[in-house]
Symmetry: C2
Subunit: 216 residues, 2 copies
DNA sequence: CCAGCAATAGTCAATAGGGACTAGCCGCGG
DNA sequence: CCGCGGCTAGTCCCTATTGACTATTGCTGG
């Protein structure tokens, strides 16, 4: 297997390189950032790219697209510190072939990479199950996040910063009544009854991955 | 150097073991949990213990104490994914000898371990500076967190969950007016003007480490 | 070109939240 | 035994927030 590895922790990156080489695979490039990974994948057309999901701003999920564009035959396997089923679903939806936790021994990671290269979905069954469940019950408040408009995401940011309606109006450059309307729509879409609950929702379940890529 | 390494990501743990061995040091034990680390340190009395700060509930910081009890001559170096100066300060205060980021190359990590063993403080100067600054300026809103009472921390939890005054009164088993008073005192102590700001403060700066140990 | 949606702005009524107080009760240290 | 601090509870007054609306503008896909 020819592999490109991408992780922002250099230590882990080097370690993965060593460990994968030790199992008889060819690590063709190490990338410290998704952009580097895209370049490396475009250049080397590897069998698989192991990509850390832990980049800020949801960059990682966005990178999947670019990687698949750069080399359609390269499978993308996400590497994550936590088993976050919301992210799993999103990653798979975006075109990733697998998702493996950092807490797994190296042997299992290799096995997952192997499965991905063979065209199988490399996700733990239990995790996959949880990732698919919410799609059926559209009652999940997080599902609603998808339907927020750009403006509403900006409003969400203001809410998370604890701004009042006035401050929000100021930073968005609109009348307070407009800010109010956006807040109102936001609350309605999320199915909550106060900005505090919206903030709680985001800080509890909303990892960086929940945020749209183009809005920081 | 005789080393014990502790991290909950087995991958990183194994990788660290390999990398440190490759640099000519003796890794006497790998631990997946602070408890294991304490045991291993007690048994092997190593020169240094490399400990991930990323354990939930502030377990890591608490573990420093136990490690130093188990083997007073063993230096403890924290390993972290983020450069969080609040945690640095806390870790050093609890008896750690160093703090190094996972994004550093392995060579630098080894160097830091070496410094720690030689009795020096192994922290990046820039990080150390930021870690020490807040102690002087008591204007830091986070400083105020220290002075919250247990009840107020419970109230804080309710706020973070987006509860209204009524709900809060219900879950605390008191009158709404009492809950109100607690909220009021909380806001005053933190120097903010709304619960939303209090929540923002916590979710922005308040890592798990900010939370008192005995309250989860 | 029209329908639909996002963004803008506004109104009215009702409720929740915040500021500034007072006050009783209880345990703990001096 | 007294005072202090924390937990409890309450009041008055004002502002902020919310719910439920309507309405205009501008862009976009069919």
């Amino acid at each position: 297997m020819r592999i490109v590895v991408c992780d922002d922790h250099r230590l882990l990156l080097e370690a993965l390189g060593m460990a994968l080489s030790a199992t008889g695979h060819e690590v063709v490039a190490l990338a410290g950032h998704p952009e580097e990974a895209v370049q490396a994948v475009a250049e080397h057309q590897p069998d698989v790219c192991l990509l850390d999901v832990n980049f800020p701003d949801g960059t990682s999920v966005a990178a999947i697209h670019q990687l698949r564009e750069a080399s359609p035959d390269t499978k993308v396997v996400m590497l994550s510190a936590e088993a976050d089923h919301a992210v799993v679903g999103r990653a798979i939806a975006e075109g990733a072939s697998g998702y493996v936790g950092k807490e797994k021994p190296i042997t299992e990671i290799v096995e997952m990479l192997d499965r991905a290269v063979r065209g199988q979905l490399a996700v733990e069954p239990s995790l996959l199950q949880r990732a698919l469940r919410p799609h059926k019950s559209s009652e999940d408040p997080l599902w609603a996040l998808q339907f927020l408009t750009d403006r509403e995401w900006q409003v969400m940011r203001c809410i998370m910063e604890g701004q009042t309606t006035e401050e929000m109006a100021g930073s968005l450059g609109v009348q307070r009544s407009t800010a109010r309307t956006h807040v109102q729509n936001l609350l309605t879409k999320l199915g909550v009854h106060s900005r505090l609950q919206a903030a709680a929702l985001m800080s509890a379940h909303g990892s960086q991955e929940s945020w749209p890529v183009h809005l920081r």
